[in-house]
Symmetry: C2
Subunit: 426 residues, 2 copies
Amino acid sequence: MSLVVQKYGGSSVADAESVKRVARRIVDTRKQGHDVCVVVSAMGDTTDDLIDLAEKVSPLPPARELDMLLTAGERISMAVLAMAIAALGQEARSFTGSQAGVITDGVHGKARIIDVTPGRIKAALDEGHIAIVAGFQGVSQDTKDITTLGRGGSDTTAVALAAALEADVCEIYTDVDGIFTADPRIVPSARQIARITSEEMLEMAASGAKVLHLRCVEYARRFNLPVHVRSSFSHREGTWVTDKPVESTQGAVVEQPIISGVAHDRSEAKITVVGVPDKPGKAAEIFQVVAAAEINLDMIVQNVSAATSGLTDISFTLPKTDGQSAMNALNRAQEGIGFESLRYDDQIGKVSLIGAGMRSHPGVSAQMFAALAEAGINIEMISTSEIRLSLVTRAERLDDAVRVIHTAFGLDSSDGEAVVYGGTGR
Amino acid sequence: MSLVVQKYGGSSVADAESVKRVARRIVDTRKQGHDVCVVVSAMGDTTDDLIDLAEKVSPLPPARELDMLLTAGERISMAVLAMAIAALGQEARSFTGSQAGVITDGVHGKARIIDVTPGRIKAALDEGHIAIVAGFQGVSQDTKDITTLGRGGSDTTAVALAAALEADVCEIYTDVDGIFTADPRIVPSARQIARITSEEMLEMAASGAKVLHLRCVEYARRFNLPVHVRSSFSHREGTWVTDKPVESTQGAVVEQPIISGVAHDRSEAKITVVGVPDKPGKAAEIFQVVAAAEINLDMIVQNVSAATSGLTDISFTLPKTDGQSAMNALNRAQEGIGFESLRYDDQIGKVSLIGAGMRSHPGVSAQMFAALAEAGINIEMISTSEIRLSLVTRAERLDDAVRVIHTAFGLDSSDGEAVVYGGTGR
């Protein structure tokens, strides 16, 4: 007997029928002899509907009240899921984030979990009940106000709760079969990854892979918690995110490949600061201005200074959503820093190759550049970590770049068979 | 400066536009210099929609989970109302029943308030904020589970909170202008009552008047709290429920009439137990059987025994919704008690005349019977209290009975002008 934490997203509980299907799945797990704690998101479009309602009464709703409003979404889904489980003859009890002991800081809309004190969940499990917990929400340590965790918050709730309960595994149910070597909508021959290390998964999430949120992976890594990402529409094995070797269903240890996958990201823009005086401290001034606007930069390139002019250009990428405020902040600082002009470019794409094996295989970057050159794809910026290699290309060549790299590193499924993306076409 | 508790029902906050209208009203009250605490119900049909959803996943949802689900309704309305107030430039903070300190027993679906500890509400008011509190809900003292108060629960929340905060007045906003001498849909010449004592209001509520719930009036009476029932669609004075004399807008003390109003009730049925042995203890056996089924009886009549047979008939009224279970319980007990048969009659109506002046005017019942006799309306059962006189008639003569009594006691509006029922025809 083990303790399993399962997380079901909004698309898995979109309507009453889906809720009943998920309830059967949970009851099956319970009947296999496991203790089960379930984290659930709001049903389908509930959150969007609530945001629409808020916008009808207020142009800029106070963040505290928006959190109060949005948390009604999981309250509905968790109670309905508990009812559906009860209708199958198992005892289930639902708990809000606050009742489950999800303690956060006070930053409404993107609160961080400070502590998890799941006394009531433990008690419910000890009584043999299935515990259903609202994802995405917590309670502020200082003000006792209700908070939400922001994007990917339900995954983070599940992993944090699993860690606090010392669960054996955290299963993240989604509408795809797991993590793929690339987005199958771009690369039809992409393969499902059987196992990936948390370090690689972190780089994948940071590089634009959408299945797991960065913060959730960080949490799992910190607590050394195995995460199993799988589809709620099938019973296939999904992807294990764990640093321990896992056994395949045939009992063999799954071998770790050099390259795990190719991620891509269309959400970034590039700002170029043109004609910056090539003096010590000027780059620092620019990035202080951007940092003061609370904008996270990604890649940075400083051009080699032209000896004759004494001026240089500095380019960096950032989320498109922060583009306007970064441009405003830099424009205000133009006179003080003394640069010539700004250029804004939102027609870029980023492709990243991720694999722990890169550490011991120095030829990876050369192989990647060669493949792109052969396909006539121009590289505009480069950044690397120990286990990741990221490039910026024109947005219209991004899909090509992903396919070329995927093929070059032998990631295409060997039998040429198309991998089904998702179980029901949702 | 005074402290005002206002309660708005679901029809007053049915959609975004209504919420904005109510927000303006609240802000107006605040700007007049009052501290304002608002209790709000779920928006429009939200509660019914949530019950529909529950029924889709479970034939008999667990009461704990149904309460968890339904409380999402006020969570939405209170957050949206707080946003609408903030959009008008006033600070507002919403609180769940639990956060507002509404402590109840553990009877899900019809919990009773045990205590109110509104520390967070007081703090919010002290900071100059408008406090918005979810009606209808609380938290169980023993299990810390979320509870709901059942029908009329938001009114009870408002009155209980007003008592705990030592508010100067509790304003109950509804879609009619206050309490009327009879239901204006039946008696077009019914007048709005300016003031009614809590004792009379208790009898009105118990006799079928729908505007205020019995439990809420009991609470107001216990804490000697003035309640002002008025329309959220107009700025007219409504009805004051208070034992203190109130002044009219012209400064004169409003005189207390002998009769306050005529209430009616179509929700009851009559059961007759036929051929009961006329021996001591037989009536007690019958009512023990009914009480064991947790059914509240209203009126009881025992016929005079026919000397020859040694048998008698016993009739009583009860809510129609309890009819089936009462019949089942009595049928099971037939052999033990030894009665002949049961008759069930749901074609009855009850009309009640209420007035504190009855105590000192002994002719009231004779006057009432004479008026009904003249109209050819048969009286089937009678019950009285110190300030109430109730009669059972055939259901199809109930409306006539209400009109005849209303006229006989001089309650028709003197100028013959039709009183508008409600402000917007809702």
